[in-house]
């Protein structure tokens, strides 16, 4: 058992994967010296410049090269410096990585991992704060993983690297150093697509992922003091969604609050709400409520604008309290 931050857990997963399988390589901007968040620090020294290297400032180019390397028998882990800068590579990811296996009737799966820090609360302004999971979760052929804890970050990154298909692996910047927890030395393998219950309760289900899981747990704590028992589900993977776990949470409580940092419209919450409204309608005792960022391009840089954007425990608790009283 070791205590780690999320950033350390990810570094440790990279190191172990590279030790176990020499097809695993790491590339991206500034990764040789460790990247902006120091996540890849030490890898160059340990594995050498053939397996850890800096790319030109051209996301479409190096994501495309990652796809090619994956087709050519390697297991590339591409780092995007901030998820906001994945947008130039969207064509490679949607037109090529996501479709290659299906369109070749299974001949050419693409075992590629694209890691990217996302989310706000770090004075990132518009282009260093976005949550872009919904864009990729909508794309058949991509898997999208968003861990909330160090243990999940490590186990799920190992699973993503072992996976035969393209995985977008999103790491919340605030969790990098802010979330520190124990990671077992013999970490059990994780399965992509599996949600987990972080807290049990019968009154309201709070469904969340990433940094917002921690706000949801804090809200549940507050509500417990008022006698409202919340069940908190951590999705962990937003594509594919764990439909059964979501429906179970809805059926077991009849009342659901879905929480994400990404803005409301078209976010993961819409899909989760739709699954419930179709699959667990008979069990619902109240409207399906979403707590999410407002529909603006991103949070502002000034801390007042950032705070005005971010959902937090207080907002979640207020929504759940109102729903519990419905």
């Amino acid at each position: 058992m070791t205590t780690m931050t999320v950033a350390e857990a990810i570094g440790s997963a990279l190191r172990e994967a590279m030790q176990a399988d020499d097809r695993v390589i790491v590339l991206g901007e500034d990764v040789e010296v460790g990247g902006v968040f120091r996540v890849t620090q030490g890898l160059l020294d340990e594995f050498g410049p053939q397996r850890v290297f800096d790319t030109p400032l051209a996301e479409s180019g190096f994501v495309g090269a990652g796809i090619g390397a994956a087709l050519g028998g390697l297991r590339p882990v591409v780092e995007i410096q901030f998820v906001d800068f994945i947008l130039p590579a969207v064509n490679q990811l949607i037109s090529e990585a996501a479709k290659m296996c299906w369109r070749s009737a299974g001949a050419w799966p693409v075992p590629l991992v694209v890691r990217a820090p996302y989310g706000g609360g770090v004075h990132g302004g518009l282009s260093h704060s976005q949550s872009l999971e919904a864009l990729f979760a909508h794309v058949p052929g991509l898997k999208v993983v968003m861990p909330a804890t160090p243990a999940d970050a490590k186990a799920l990154l190992l699973a993503a690297i072992a996976d035969p298909d393209p995985v977008i692996f999103l790491e919340h910047k605030r969790t990098y150093r802010f979330i520190r927890d124990e990671v077992p030395d013999d970490l059990p393998p994780a399965r992509i697509g599996e949600a987990t219950l972080r807290r049990d309760g019968d009154d309201v289900a709070i469904i969340s992922y990433g940094l917002m899981l921690h706000e949801s747990l804090a809200a549940a704590e507050q509500l417990a003091e008022d006698g409202i028992d919340c069940r908190v589900l951590d999705l962990r993977t937003v594509a594919p969604l764990d439909r059964e776990a979501i429906l179970d949470a809805a059926r077991g409580t009849g009342k659901v609050v879905i929480v994400h940092e990404d803005h409301l419209t078209g976010g993961i919450g819409g899909e989760v709400a739709a699954l419930i409204a179709e699959g667990a309608f008979a069990h619902l005792d109240g409207p399906i409520v979403r707590v999410a960022g407002p529909d603006v391009p991103a949070m502002g840089y000034h801390h007042a604008l950032e705070e005005a954007f971010m959902p937090n425990a207080a907002r979640i608790a207020a929504a759940a309290r109102e729903l519990a009283a419905y």
Binding site: I25, Q50, R51, T55, P56, A58, S60, G61, F62, V63, G64, A65, G66, I67, G68, A69, A70, L71, G72, G73, L74, P76, P88, N91, Q92, S95, E96, K99, M100, C101, W102, R103, S104, A105, G106, A107, W108, P109, V110, P111, P140, G141, A159, A162, D163, P164, D165
Partner: protein
């Protein structure tokens, strides 16, 4: 000789595809008539199953030379379940073959260049002396991915060969609407890459140029860009009408420069081929195409129940 035969086959397949489209038996076709010397000449310098190839939609000549069969091509135009490229999921001419190291191609112009760089890089890292060859039209070199992919390959000194089939048009747009320069090969210098212009209708010249580029790439010399000047003697695809944007005189001029006739004359001059033999080969090629067509027409169509299959790869 063999190369001439491959050019001939490629031509016949392309022509037949267009006929099938006109007959209402293939909703869409796109092919490479006029490009055969460029396609066969470059592909002949590669080693099938060892080198990586990313051919674009015109490259019937490339895939035939690499080892696809006429049967494969006829299965493809009918979108049959047994066609090797996509089992009927993609339009015809979107190549794929695991054995031939041809990763599945999309319609999207440009993405191929970085992917090919990645293939070259995997080969290099794994210590194989394979090269990767990627094919693209001159119009396609306007895409950002061309720039990013070639630069990536240059920085890493990867064994990549970019073959630009310059036929002077991107659908209806003449080259002047795509770029100011006359030679796409001039772009190579901006990456520190060697750029070569060849007459794309001169089979042997194309072959020798490619061979040298492949050799250099295998020896660690890095990427080469080869621009082959050629012409498509058909409309862009079965959906296009090329009278909207180019003159019949221009077309006629290029038909005079037909790469297959030209090489046939060479072979005749050198006494390697006789007129009779050539005609016979041509008739045989026709027959081969028609026989493959008959077999392909009888092959099974995709089963709609399979639509959801293969979204993801097998177990990890």
């Amino acid at each position: 000789m063999e190369l001439w035969h491959l050019m001939l086959l490629a031509r016949k397949v392309g022509e037949r595809w267009f006929t099938l489209n006109r007959q209402g038996r293939a909703p869409f076709v796109i092919s490479g008539q006029g490009h055969e010397a460029t396609q066969v000449g470059t592909a002949a310098a590669l080693t099938p199953g060892k080198d990586w190839v990313m051919p674009y939609y015109r490259d019937i000549g490339v895939v035939l030379t690499m080892g696809m069969t006429v049967d494969d091509l006829m299965l493809d135009v009918f979108a049959k379940a047994t066609n090797p490229n996509s089992a009927g999921r993609q339009m015809p001419a979107h190549w794929s073959s695991k054995e031939l190291r041809i990763p599945s191609q999309s319609s999207v112009v440009g993405t191929q260049v970085p992917i090919a760089a990645g293939l070259a890089w995997a080969a290099k890292l794994r210590g194989e002396d394979s090269v990767a060859a990627v094919y693209i039209g001159e119009g396609g070199t306007s895409q950002g991915d061309f720039h990013e992919g070639l630069n990536f390959a240059a920085v890493q000194r990867l064994p990549l060969i970019v073959v630009v089939e310059n036929n002077g048009y991107a659908i209806t747009e003449a080259q002047e609407k795509e770029m100011v320069i006359r030679d796409v090969a001039d772009r190579a210098a901006g990456y520190g890459v060697n750029g070569v212009v060849v007459d794309g209708n001169d089979l042997l010249l194309v072959y020798r140029t490619m061979q040298q580029a492949v050799q250099e790439a295998r020896m660690g010399g890095g990427p080469t860009l080869i621009e082959a000047k050629t012409y498509r003697t058909t409309p862009h695809s079965s959906d296009d009408d090329d009278r909207r944007y180019r003159t019949r005189e221009e077309l006629e001029l290029w038909i005079q420069r037909d790469p297959i006739d030209r090489f046939r004359r060479n072979l005749l001059d050198d006494g390697i081929l006789s007129d009779e033999h050539a005609d016979q080969l041509s008739t045989e090629a026709d027959e081969e195409v028609r026989a493959a067509e008959a077999r392909a027409a009888a092959a099974p169509d995709p089963d709609p129940a399979t639509l959801l299959d293969h979204l993801f790869g097998g177990a990890p």
